[in-house]
């Protein structure tokens, strides 16, 4: 078998393994799904009325926050992956894989592929809930496709970062820093309120952190408004973070084991 086909076959095997974990123990996926849905209910139901007045564009608040909620969903999905990778690395199984004649890359590729499938499933469910709650995107198939493409880039970026974090953390607790990041950053972005309504340093940070252009672009694609220059910035952030996460993860993984 050639190196290439070995890599594909082994990655498929590792993907099956990860998906089997999800099917066997859906708890972590349910949790990572529950938080975005709760946030959606909370913001639309509790703050929606009050915030509605302040959001420009005459659109309802749910249409405003769905892109941000999607980002939170992707973030939670990725933190599940950080944990799964860390579990593999801190238990003996990784040593077994490393002493087998398999494509080494397949260990990480399997995790990333599984994470992508898991996260898209979660995203679809969250969009479903949003639609039930009154989310009304006004867009055409091409822009839907664009939005899906951007979300895929975002998922890859977050997942590769999560894999790297999972690899470098000596314990599962070490990965919680990543979770904190994806929990807090959306709040200091245009996810729930416009950055213009923030003040001082927070406003500057919110306007310049990666989540804001990604959310703005998603919102524009879903609500059929002009994307502007945030589109390019969003793609650049996603590609940049993916590349950084991938290279980081690869170098850590190829380094000699700690023990």
């Amino acid at each position: 078998m050639s190196t290439m086909t070995t890599a594909v076959t082994d990655s498929a095997t590792m993907l099956r393994r990860s998906l089997l974990h999800t099917v066997r123990y859906p708890a972590s996926m349910v949790t990572s799904l529950l938080v975005p849905v709760l946030l959606l209910l909370l913001f639309v139901g509790v703050f929606g009325g009050a915030i509605n007045a302040g959001i420009a564009g005459g659109s309802t608040y749910i249409n405003y926050i769905v892109p941000g909620i999607l980002l939170v969903t992707a973030g939670y999905g990725a933190s599940t992956t950080a944990l799964a990778v860390n579990k593999d690395m801190t238990e003996g199984i990784i040593d077994r894989f490393r002493t087998m004649p398999i494509s080494r890359q397949s260990v990480l590729t399997g995790h990333v592929l599984a994470a992508t499938i898991r996260t898209f499933l979660s995203l679809a469910l969250v969009v479903g809930v949003a639609l039930l709650m009154g989310f009304r995107p006004t867009t055409d198939p091409l822009r839907w496709l664009g939005a899906a493409g951007l979300v895929l880039l975002l998922v890859l970026a977050l997942t590769w970062l999560a894999v790297a974090i999972g690899l470098v953390s000596p314990t599962p607790e070490g990965t919680t820093g990543f979770l904190l990041l994806v929990q807090v950053l959306p709040f200091v972005s245009s996810a729930f309120v416009t950055t213009e309504s923030m003040s001082g340093a927070v406003r500057w940070f919110a306007a310049n952190e990666p989540f804001t252009p990604i959310i703005d672009t998603l919102r524009a694609l879903l609500m059929d408004t002009p994307v502007g220059n945030s589109g390019g910035i969003a793609v650049a952030w996603c590609v940049g973070l993916s590349a950084a996460g991938y290279l980081w993860a690869r170098s850590v993984f190829n380094r000699a084991p700690r023990r």
Binding site: H21, Y25, E91, I93, D95, P101, P257
Partner: protein, 344 residues
């Protein structure tokens, strides 16, 4: 396999490894003939696991060379991995998957194909007595079952060289004996086994050749018998009723070692009838009554002590196989088997 098989399954010369300032391996040489069991024996921290990790391509050595199954562990790591199976000290099973799924995962990674993989999995479940537990998550397995699954997973790829890093550490005596039987059967199938252990009786039981590792150096190699012959002789252990008796006796026998806690004296000697009689005569002449006496011919514990200057670290909490061991080696002439444990 394309290359002509060299007579040795494992050859290592001058292996060195340090972690920071800490020298773990200080130049070790090994040679393991095909189809034999080789045991690396040493206390915790002597470098056993590091040796296994280098030979199984997990980490690189700082110096020296090693080849496994005829391939260099660095330059031909892929070929080495194709020939070996490794069961590490820490369980390498996927706890979330069932025993059967774990084995199927290995079969898939070895590209055995659907039918071939299924046959192999069924065969190994049967052979390792895991049929009943096949559909249960490995996380729910007992220590012994988990270790059996671990070894079964190692065998899916039909390796010709197997590394077992402390395969029975933490197992109860019964699981331990089951493991020994499994290892013996592997050897009967022509597999080369590289075994590390801190249990002297385990090396004695299983290994064709033993290397004693201490502080990153190999301090002795040979068969169990050869190692035992390396130290001058056994000892006679005499226990007394009072500390005064012990004091008196200790003065009588120069070169003896006293154990104040047990009120016992360890007198070097071959344990032959004449030396035993001489010893008792001298005690009689000094009117020292003897409470208990046992004759002890050297076993690997003594070898270890003689070679390294300190007892093997785990002698105390080693699962007791004493009866079994003395039965096999026949070195215990005393009725008090417990004396052997107490002597150290």
């Amino acid at each position: 396999m394309a290359t002509t098989p060299s007579p040795s399954a494992i050859v290592a010369t001058g292996l060195r490894k340090s972690f920071g300032d800490h020298v773990v391996l200080d130049g070790i040489d090994l040679e393991v003939p095909r189809g034999t069991v080789f045991s690396l024996l040493g206390p915790n921290g002597s470098g056993k696991t590091t040796t296994v990790r280098i030979l199984s391509t997990l980490i690189g050595a700082d110096g020296g060379q090693a080849s496994v199954a005829g391939h260099d562990v660095v330059r031909e790591a892929g070929a080495v991995r194709a020939a070996i199976g490794v069961t590490g000290q820490f369980s390498a099973v996927d706890g979330l998957l069932t025993g059967e799924e774990n084995l199927a995962l290995m079969a898939a990674l070895h590209h055995l194909g659907r039918a071939g993989g299924r046959r192999r999995v069924a065969d190994l479940l049967e052979r390792f007595d895991l049929v009943d537990a096949a559909k249960k998550a490995a996380a729910t397995y007992s220590g012994g079952m988990r270790r059996r699954l671990d070894l079964a997973m190692t065998l899916v790829g039909d390796p010709s060289v197997i590394f077992l890093d402390e395969p029975t550490t933490g197992l109860d005596p019964r699981s331990r004996r089951t493991m020994w039987q499994i290892i013996r059967r592997l050897v009967a199938d022509g597999v080369t086994v590289f075994l590390t252990t801190q249990y002297l009786d385990e090396a004695d039981q299983l290994a064709d050749r033993i290397a004693v590792l201490d502080g990153g150096r190999i301090v002795a190699t040979g068969t169990a018998e050869q190692l035992k012959r390396q130290i001058p002789g056994g000892h006679i252990r005499v226990r007394f009723d009072t500390a005064e008796d012990l004091d008196t006796a200790a003065r009588l026998f120069a070169g003896s070692a006293r154990d104040d806690e047990e009120l016992a004296l360890r007198v070097p000697g071959d344990g032959g009838v004449s030396s035993l009689r001489a010893l008792l005569d001298r005690l009689d002449a000094a009117s020292v009554p003897v409470a208990d006496l046992s004759v002890h011919t050297p076993d690997l514990d003594d070898v270890f002590f003689a070679l390294t200057g300190h007892p093997s670290s785990r002698t105390g909490d080693q699962p007791s196989e004493t009866g079994h061991q003395s039965g096999r080696t026949g070195d215990q002439t005393s009725a008090t088997t417990a004396a052997k444990e107490g002597a150290r």
